[in-house]
Symmetry: C2
Subunit: 440 residues, 2 copies
């Protein structure tokens, strides 16, 4: 993408109305703009990051055997009356009257809707187990929206729902999502620690939240250093290996981790001092096993193998996709701006001409741009006629993993400069070597 044809409004000053660093940086680097309290438009660079995150979530859900679909944003209140949640839900639910004065709502979650779809279409044990998911916008009418996309009102969530014939099956579905979550966050280049949680208004007795560690996190967390060493992408563990999944769950359960809400001083005292980790964290995912809470209240039954009717056991599994954009920035930035992990970076390389009016620099950069994009490398090419220092400052702010800098002096010696945004390491090398490095 040529910056001269994109829409990337970078602010010169850090916005004073933002309280936390991710919100400041998302505004300053042109990722989002607020269009109403707690509601954001995603500008091209922010949209690219959001898509990268959503795509990783999608691939890991698919790999775990969940099937993608899409439920609508607007729901009928009648659905929620069937489960009893319409009255139980507080003013966070955005309630709407349509032109015929029917009670509607902007969905904050989809247990009722998918249970109703299953009730109407699934009749036999042969159609279970099944886990379906969607990635859709939700609305929660926060009384005081703040911290940018971290606590906005309209937000993008992945929510999956599992249906099983018995508790053993439902627990296996739960472990499957647990593993998928650990792999998902690891792929994004962040560390998320699973912590046993209360299940709140969703109901149920087995629940974990996933906390990204960041100094500016909203809650205090405590965990065993073992969580820093686990490699969840380990090839040995397969989704069809029930014993392996159970062992993973036991390992997670037996290794200490807690938020301040669930912190247990006596168990914490048992963790060796050199393995105690305390810090702050941001919730980016939450999973629940709640048995027959919705299937029973909404009348979902299937015929079992022996002909008797069975009420399926369910779970639901959420990931805050838009919230992750903020959480990743909280976990990965420095005083110059964002430092994107490679897997979620909007582009991999920022190509900069130091002199946008120098024909030799332009010709060299155009050629590099053509070659890198032809090789499938995602490049943001700052081809504007703008001062080199300004461009480099913008690139640091935007935080792409690599910067490739083309200037008249270097070109005279046949070299360009390649800078690693995270380490700050710079090296001068020939154009061919630079291209080779970036396409390797």
């Amino acid at each position: 993408m040529r910056l001269s044809r994109c829409f990337l409004p970078v602010l010169k000053e850090s916005p004073s109305d933002a309280q936390i660093v991710s919100h400041k940086l998302m505004l300053q680097a042109g990722l989002v703009r607020q269009t109403a309290a707690g509601i954001y438009a995603w500008l091209p660079i922010g949209w690219r990051v959001l898509q990268k995150i959503a795509q990783i979530v999608r691939e890991e859900q698919d790999r775990a055997g969940a099937v993608e679909m899409l439920m609508p944003t607007i729901q009928s209140a009648d659905l929620w009356r069937q489960s009893g949640r319409y009255d139980a839900y507080g003013p966070e639910m955005l309630r709407i009257k349509d032109r015929h004065d029917r009670d509607m709502l902007y969905g904050p979650t989809n247990e009722e809707m998918l249970t109703a779809i299953f009730r109407d279409d699934v009749k036999s044990y042969r159609d279970l187990p099944r886990t379906l998911y969607h990635i859709q916008w939700k609305f929660r009418d926060e009384v005081r929206p703040r911290f940018g996309v971290m606590r906005g009102r309209e937000f993008l969530m992945k929510d999956a729902y599992s249906f099983d014939l018995d508790e053993a099956g439902a627990r296996l579905s739960y472990y499957t999502q647990l593993l998928a979550y650990l792999r998902t966050f690891q792929r994004m280049g962040i560390r998320a620690v699973p912590m046993k949680a209360a299940s709140g208004p969703i109901g149920g007795d087995l629940s974990h939240e996933f906390i990204v560690l960041a100094p500016t996190g909203e809650s205090e967390v405590f965990y065993d250093a073992a969580f820093e060493e686990f490699d969840w992408a380990q090839a040995e563990l397969r989704y069809d290996d029930a014993n392996g999944l159970k062992a993973l769950f036991d390992k997670v359960s037996s290794t200490y981790s807690a938020t301040d809400e669930t912190h247990d001083q006596s168990r914490w005292a048992e963790v060796p001092a050199d393995r105690k980790r305390q810090g702050r964290g941001i919730e980016v995912g939450h999973i629940f096993y709640f048995g027959t809470k919705y299937s029973a209240s909404m009348g979902l039954k299937v015929s079992g193998q022996d002909g008797a009717m069975v009420t399926p056991e369910m779970g639901s599994y959420g990931i805050g996709v838009s919230r992750l954009v903020g959480a990743i920035i909280e976990a990965s930035h420095d005083d110059k701006g964002i430092v994107w992990p490679k897997a979620v970076a909007p582009w991999q390389v920022g190509l900069v001409t130091m002199r946008g009016d120098d024909p030799a620099s332009i010709a060299a950069a155009d050629d590099i741009y053509t070659k890198l994009t032809a090789a499938g490398v995602e490049v943001l090419y700052d081809d504007r006629d703008e001062r080199g220092g300004v461009k480099l400052g913008s690139m640091d702010l935007i935080g792409l993993p690599w910067q490739l800098i083309v200037g008249p002096r270097g070109l005279a010696n046949g070299v360009v400069e390649l800078k690693n945004r995270r380490t700050g390491e710079r090296s001068e090398l020939s154009i061919d070597s630079a291209i080779g490095r970036l396409t390797a």
Copy 2:
């Protein structure tokens, strides 16, 4: 995808509550389920088609130089008061009060929002021209939603917005989108005829709608047979060729086409009798050039090259992405079910075992499935233990381009059957030849 792990509830009977064929087929083949009046959940097969269509739209918008972003669904009424449209819009607009009693709405379109973003962030002529787009859910509170996704309330739309410094530039942006639309629909395997249109509540004096020809279409259309012969994907025409774009527009303008609303008997009389085409059609796109209607009312100005302030000229460009699913089915089905054009088919091949309890058939089909998916072919594998006739009926209904049928009798002779869904043509060939044909 193995059907035994998917969620594909096919109805035995054609649903009696659906009035048009696409609605019937979308329900029967398990693409969608209605969750409230005019609001649909997209089940996995429908979701795949919707994504295919959206991706073609996206690729052609990108190719035409438009930049993707994402605006939220919920908007502030204040934005619409600035343009004067809040009061002008009828009861189709879903109006909402949030918990602080502020007037909000579910966006039916985004002229106001993007104009406001530009007003705050774009200051100089150097940042224009620019076309941005998003693919987002919209809401229109139809008094009588009907015809399934063809006239639903919550619907997916691609809407693009162009900003130019003068009318000449704005017209070029308009011609660019016109060409992009013609290419987009052609890639989907349908023929869409552009027709001069009234611009309605969007405003402005230059507007075209794009009509897909289908016998069950909602309006009567008249056009010159030349529109059946144009090849919009012609490689010669490039987006940076302003003269070529203008010539394309002149060609479209000078070739007769009209809906019953704009039909002109005297111009129609000039079309040679053997070139007159009359039929029915469905609107799938609508583009508008409306000058400074929104930029002027909302105070968007940029400094021009000579230092004087300029009010940008704008256009907007919509494609009904979810409506296209219905429109394509209206244009492409037979008495057995849907006949998907290859480019938007949810999977390319339906692999069927005639005997789901025959070990040799299962082994052969498993092997074919592994080889085809490894080669990147999208396969829906009906691996259920279900009667062969039922499976074949479902495959015809679902309408994948190819069916590959594995049965004990064929296997004994070393052959499988390959069926072309559109032509009905069947051939017996060896497994290797069949795989070769499908991966060629």
